[in-house]
C-alpha cells in the first residue's frame, strides 16, 4: 500500500500545481469583480507559447514559464478590452476567449505535434527529503511545484495584509463607491485580469513543458474550467483553493494508479471522475446560499460604466 501511497501523494502535488496557478489567478480577478471564463483558453495559449519558446530556446521550463505567463496575460488583455473597456457580457467574452484559445493553440501547435521536451528533474531538498513518507512527497518535487506554493503565500499575504488586497476587495464589492472616492476601477480590474491571465499562462506552460512535456492539442482538458469551479468552491479564499486543488490533484492522479490499487473500473469512468467531482463540490458549496452570498464579490460579473 505504502508503495502506492508515495507516488500517489507526490503525483497529487504535481497534478494540483496547474490548478493552483490558474485558480489563484482567477481568484484575484474575481475578487476585483471580474469573472473570466476564458481560463481554459488562456491556459492553452500559455501552454503553446511556453512549449514553443522552450523548444526554440532549448532551455525548457525556465524560458517556457515566463513565455506562457506573457502569452496568458496578453490573451487576458483581449478579454479585458471587450469585457472592461467596452463593458460587454463577461461570461460570453470569457467563452469567446476559450474558443479562440483552443483554435489558436491548435493552429500554432500544428508545427510542434511530434516534438517533446526533456521536462524537469525533481529537486531534492537536503535532509528534508530524507524524512520517511513526507520527504519524497513534499521535498522531491520539481521547482515549479515549490513556485506554486510561493505564489500561494504571496497572494494570500497580499489579499489579507496589504492596501492592494483591501482595494481589490473594495473594487469587487462596490466599483461605484471605489470610483466615488477616486480609485481607477478599470485600471485595477485590468491589473487583476492580467494577473489572472499570467497565472493561467504559467499553469498551461507547466502542463506542456513539465507535467507532460510534449504538445497535445487541447491538452488542458478542462482544467481551466475546473480552476474556475475551484474558486467558487474556495468561496474566494486562497487557503481553501489550495486544499481544493490538492483534492482535485488526487482525483486526477487516481486513474493512473487505479489498476495497481486493484480498482477495476473502466478507464473512461476514472477519467470522467474529476469532472463529476467538480459538479459534486459545486453542489455542496452552492447549496449554502448565505455562505456564498457572504463571500461572493458583490459586483462579480456586472459591467461597470461610471
Amino acid at each position: 500500500m505504502i508503495d502506492h501511497l508515495i507516488p500517489i501523494l507526490a503525483g497529487t502535488l504535481a497534478a494540483a500545481t496547474p490548478l493552483i496557478f490558474a485558480g489563484l489567478g482567477e481568484l484575484v480577478a474575481e475578487r476585483s469583480g471580474v469573472i473570466n471564463l476564458g481560463v481554459e483558453g488562456m491556459m492553452l495559449i500559455g501552454a503553446i507559447a511556453g512549449f514553443a519558446f522552450a523548444a526554440e530556446t532549448g532551455y525548457g521550463a525556465v524560458t517556457g514559464l515566463p513565455a506562457g505567463a506573457l502569452a496568458g496575460a496578453a490573451a487576458a488583455m483581449i478579454f479585458a478590452f471587450f469585457a472592461l473597456s467596452l463593458s460587454a457580457n463577461q461570461a460570453a467574452c470569457g467563452l469567446a476567449l476559450t474558443i479562440f484559445g483552443i483554435g489558436l493553440s491548435a493552429f500554432i501547435g500544428q508545427h510542434y505535434v511530434s516534438y517533446s521536451l526533456p521536462g524537469l528533474q525533481p529537486i531534492s531538498i537536503p535532509l528534508l527529503s530524507d524524512i520517511p513518507l513526507l520527504g519524497p512527497v513534499l521535498f522531491r518535487q520539481d521547482w515549479v511545484v515549490y513556485l506554486s506554493l510561493i505564489a500561494f503565500a504571496l497572494v494570500t499575504w497580499t489579499l489579507a495584509k496589504t492596501r492592494l488586497g483591501l482595494l481589490l476587495k473594495a473594487v469587487g464589492e462596490s466599483p461605484e463607491a471605489a470610483h466615488a472616492i477616486g480609485y481607477p476601477v478599470l485600471g485595477i480590474r485590468y491589473g487583476a485580469v492580467a494577473f489572472g491571465g499570467a497565472m493561467a499562462g504559467i499553469a498551461g506552460a507547466y502542463l506542456s513543458t513539465v507535467y507532460t512535456p510534449l504538445w497535445v492539442q487541447n491538452m488542458s482538458a478542462g482544467r481551466g474550467w475546473i480552476a474556475v469551479a475551484l474558486v467558487v468552491f474556495a468561496t474566494w479564499k486562497p487557503t481553501r483553493l489550495l486544499l481544493g486543488a490538492y483534492l482535485f490533484g488526487a482525483v486526477t492522479i487516481l486513474q493512473f494508479h487505479a489498476q495497481g490499487l486493484g480498482i477495476d473500473v473502466p478507464v473512461q469512468f476514472l477519467a470522467a471522475l474529476p469532472y463529476v467531482a467538480t459538479i459534486v463540490v459545486l453542489v455542496v458549496i452552492s447549496r449554502d446560499r448565505k455562505l456564498l452570498q457572504l463571500n461572493l464579490p458583490a459586483s462579480l460579473g456586472k459591467p461597470f460604466l461610471p
Binding site: 464589492e173 462596490s174 466615488a180 477616486g182 448565505k290 452570498q293
Partner: protein, 513 residues
C-alpha cells in the same frame, strides 16, 4: 466678487446625452459659512457637487479655491485641497471594517492599528463615537454616516459637502448632526449642504443657492424666508397640498398580519419578529422607519415575492401566506415596490410589455399566446388616465422620469381593481408635482374602499396621507396610532428607540428616555 471666498464656481455647465445637468451655474462660499444648495430631485445639485469633488468633469466654467483658479481632476486631488464629501448613497464598503474603509481614502502609509486609534480620538472629539473595528454592514444608517463624516474630518477639511444627509436620519439624529456641523463651521470649515427639506435649511444654513432644471434660479438668506417662499423658488409655483376627506363606507379589515416572523434571506438583512398589523377598507396605514429595519423583508413577505406560513397573512378573511405574488395579485393584492426599474418595471422593455407584467390576467392571453393589441390598449389607457408623460406605449420604461414611471406603475396596479394596495416609498426621487399627484391618487383610491399600506422613510409624507401610523424598527412593528394621537417627535423616538439598543450603546446615549 468676494476676495475672501473659499470656493467660487463661475458659469459651470455639464451636459449628458439625455439631459443638461448644470447650465451656467455660479456660486460662492465663505469660510465658516453653511451654504445650502436647494432644489428638487433632478435639479442638478448632485452633479454640481460631484464636479466640485472631482468625480465628474464639467464641460465649461471655472472654479476658484481660496481665490486661485483650480481644475480638480480627481477626488484625490479634491481631498488634497481640503474638500471632503459625504455621499447620499454612502461610498462605504459593507464587507470592510470602519478603519479599513477610512484607510482607503487616506493618502498615507498603511498602518491600521495607528489609524484606528486616530479614528477613535477624532470621532469622540466631535461627538460621533465609532468602533473602528466593526464591519460596516453591521452599522446602522446613522452610524454609517458618522463613518463618512469622520473619514472627511481625518483629512482636515476646509470645505465639507453633504448630499441629502438627513434623508436617512431620525429627527433626533438630525439635531445631533446639526450640532456637529455648527461646531465645524465655528472652527472655520465651510459647508455645502444639499437638500430639498425646507425647514432644515431654514434652521441650519446661513445662505442658500436655489436650483431648478440645472440652472440657478435664485439666492436667499433662509432665515429671512418662509418654507412657502423657499418652495416657490424651488419649484416655481405654490407647494401643492393634498385633500383627505373622511371615508364613509363600511370599515372592515382587508389585510391582517398575524405574528409574522421571518429570517432574512440576505446575510446583511434584518429578520422580522412577530409583526402583526391590520389594514381596513378605506384607510391608509403608514409604516414609518429607516430602511434596513426589516422594510425589504416585510414588503417581500406581504407581496408574495417571499412566501411564508399560510396562516400568517390574511386577505379579506382568507389565508394567503403561502401564495406567490401572482396568485395574490389575482386575489386583489397589488404592490408598488420601491425599485421602479428592475422590479416594478422591466427597464429595457416598452410600456406595453410592462403593462403585461401584471395586467396579463386582464384577458390578455389565450391558449398561451399573448394579445399584444390588448396590452397596448391597456397601456394607452393607463398613460391617459394617470397623466404619464412619455413617448407613448412603445416608450421604454427606462426612458421615463422617476415620477412618470411611478405614475405608470401605480396606475397599472390601480387598473387591476385591487382590494388592497401596498406601496413602498411612493414618492422617492419624484418631483414635487408628481409626488402631490401620486399622494392624491392614493388618497382618492382609499376613499373608494380600497385598503392601502404605505411604507415610507419620509415622515412628512406619512403624516400627510396616513390615517394611522406604525413604526418598523429592528424588525419589530409598533402598534399603529391614529395620526391625530401621535407626532413626528414621538414617531422619531420610536424609530431610534426600538432600534437595536444593546448593539449600539452610542445611539441610545443621546436619545432622551
Amino acid at each position: 466678487m468676494s476676495q475672501s471666498a473659499r470656493l467660487q464656481l463661475l458659469h459651470i455647465s455639464k451636459r449628458y446625452p439625455s439631459v443638461v445637468a448644470n447650465d451656467d451655474v455660479s456660486l460662492s462660499v465663505e469660510p465658516g459659512e453653511i451654504h445650502a444648495i436647494l432644489g428638487e430631485n433632478g435639479a442638478g445639485k448632485s452633479t454640481l457637487m460631484k464636479i466640485i469633488y472631482g468625480a465628474v468633469k464639467a464641460d465649461a466654467g471655472e472654479m476658484l479655491w481660496n481665490g486661485r483658479q483650480v481644475a480638480i481632476a480627481s477626488p484625490a486631488q479634491a481631498r488634497k485641497l481640503g474638500i471632503g464629501m459625504v455621499f447620499q448613497h454612502f461610498s462605504l464598503f459593507e464587507t470592510l471594517s470602519v478603519v479599513e474603509n477610512i484607510a482607503l481614502v487616506l493618502d498615507e502609509p498603511f498602518d491600521l492599528p495607528a489609524l484606528a486609534a486616530r479614528v477613535k480620538e477624532v470621532s469622540e472629539r466631535y461627538g460621533l463615537p465609532l468602533d473602528p473595528y466593526r464591519s460596516v454592514h453591521s452599522l446602522s444608517v446613522g452610524e454609517r454616516q458618522r463613518v463618512e463624516i469622520v473619514r472627511c474630518l481625518l483629512q482636515d477639511p476646509k470645505l465639507l459637502i453633504l448630499d441629502e444627509p438627513t434623508s436617512v436620519l431620525t429627527p433626533q439624529a438630525v439635531q445631533k448632526l446639526f450640532e456637529t456641523l455648527r461646531r465645524l463651521a465655528s472652527e472655520g470649515v465651510s459647508i455645502l449642504y444639499i437638500s430639498h427639506k425646507l425647514h432644515e435649511i431654514k434652521s441650519l444654513c446661513d445662505s442658500a443657492t436655489i436650483m431648478r432644471g440645472g440652472k440657478v434660479t435664485g439666492t436667499a438668506i433662509p432665515r429671512d424666508e418662509t418654507p412657502a417662499s423657499l418652495a416657490r423658488m424651488m419649484i416655481g409655483r405654490e407647494l401643492p397640498v393634498c385633500e383627505a376627506p373622511a371615508f364613509t363606507g363600511l370599515v372592515k379589515p382587508v389585510l391582517e398580519v398575524d405574528r409574522l416572523s421571518l429570517a432574512s434571506a440576505d446575510p446583511f438583512g434584518t429578520s422580522l419578529s412577530h409583526v402583526s398589523l391590520t389594514v381596513n377598507a378605506g384607510e391608509i396605514l403608514g409604516i414609518a422607519g429607516i430602511s434596513g429595519n426589516g422594510q425589504a423583508e416585510l414588503l417581500a413577505a406581504l407581496s408574495g415575492e417571499n412566501t411564508v406560513d399560510r396562516e400568517t397573512i390574511w386577505l379579506a378573511g382568507e389565508a394567503i401566506g403561502h401564495l406567490d405574488a401572482g396568485q395574490r395579485r389575482s386575489k386583489g393584492l397589488v404592490f408598488v415596490p420601491e425599485e421602479r426599474l428592475g422590479r416594478g418595471a422591466v427597464p429595457a422593455q416598452s410600456l406595453t410589455r410592462n403593462a403585461l407584467l401584471t395586467a396579463h390576467r386582464q384577458d390578455m392571453k389565450h391558449w398561451g399566446l399573448v394579445s399584444y393589441s390588448k396590452a397596448k390598449a391597456f397601456a394607452e389607457q393607463c398613460i391617459a388616465r394617470f397623466d404619464v408623460r412619455c413617448g407613448g406605449p412603445d416608450a421604454l420604461a427606462r426612458s421615463l422620469s422617476g415620477g412618470n414611471l411611478q405614475k405608470f406603475i401605480v396606475g397599472r396596479e390601480i387598473m387591476l381593481a385591487p382590494r388592497l394596495m401596498i406601496v413602498a416609498q411612493p414618492t422617492w426621487g419624484v418631483d414635487v408635482g408628481a409626488a402631490a399627484f401620486l399622494r392624491q391618487t392614493l388618497l382618492d383610491l382609499s376613499r373608494t374602499g380600497v385598503a392601502i399600506l404605505v411604507i415610507s422613510e419620509e415622515l412628512e409624507e406619512l403624516f400627510e396621507i396616513s390615517d394611522r401610523i406604525a413604526v418598523l424598527a429592528a424588525g419589530q412593528l409598533s402598534a399603529a396610532q391614529p395620526k391625530a394621537a401621535t407626532n413626528a417627535e414621538s414617531v422619531g423616538l420610536q424609530m431610534s428607540g426600538l432600534f437595536n439598543e444593546t448593539a449600539q450603546p452610542t445611539e441610545s446615549g443621546h436619545a432622551p428616555a
